[in-house]
């Protein structure tokens, strides 16, 4: 792999900043969930980059990829729960605006 590490980390930083912007700006629950997914993908990209630039597979350099696999599973789980919350919020309050969902109890 000959892609410079700094390029990969810069892409990861840009995606992270994009996700932060989405989380702070948007009020729609689905858009916030999507922004969190962008942030998660930025983190996963970092794991993959450092996995290949650390000492070889025999020395444990593949561990970053293993963690990335586990993170992908976790992120998919998070989306499933998040969308279940979206459906519950929509049914109970008739809105997806997080500013209106100020009570944690149903």
């Amino acid at each position: 792999m000959s892609v410079p590490l700094v390029d990969i980390l810069s892409l990861s930083g840009a995606l992270f900043a994009l996700g932060i912007f989405g989380v702070l700006t948007r009020r729609n629950f689905i858009l916030i969930l999507i922004s969190v997914e962008v942030i998660t993908n930025a983190a996963i990209l970092n794991f993959i980059a450092f996995s290949f630039y650390s000492p070889g597979p025999a020395a444990g350099g593949i561990t970053g990829q293993s963690i990335a696999v586990i993170l992908v599973g976790l992120a998919a789980t998070e989306v499933a729960v998040g969308l279940a919350i979206v459906l519950a919020l929509n049914r109970l309050r008739g809105t997806l605006n997080v500013a209106e969902a100020i009570q944690l109890k149903f």
Partner: protein, 176 residues
Amino acid sequence: MNAETFTFIVLALGAVLSGALALLSREIVHTVIFIGGLFADLGAIYFVLSSPFLGLLQLAVYAGAVTILLMFAVMVIKRRIFARESTLGIQVPTLALAVIVGAVLVNVAMDVPNYGPAPSCPAADPYCVGALAQNLFLLNGAWLVLLGFIMLSALVGAVHLAREWRTPSVRRIRED
């Protein structure tokens, strides 16, 4: 600049553009389509970074399942809710904060020492898939089991959240 780096830069620009369009689009369906494009772009980037297994996982789980799940969630929610809560435009302080965070992260990335060319995988296992499987199932097996428990709990939690509510307090909220 070699072909790999050029491909990476093109895909990276596509990913950032897709992400920006997804967050700035006023139509929620367009947002989901653009976010699917971002996930597919990242999957292609993983292939360029010699991680074909993760690339396939990204395409199957994120570009496939998660995007379709988001699209179904959009379909079952009334459109008037999205029209009422459409995007608010660009808020300058938040945009400035995001730009500062991005600049700091890119600056940190510039300071990361250059590790030189990445170590190559053995000839018999050119994409390190065997090494990944050994690492995942032997060394990190406990984390996989933990992930399984978390996913099971999430399944139960999601079913509990999405079921039809019939308790008196919920009925009172719905009548309000």
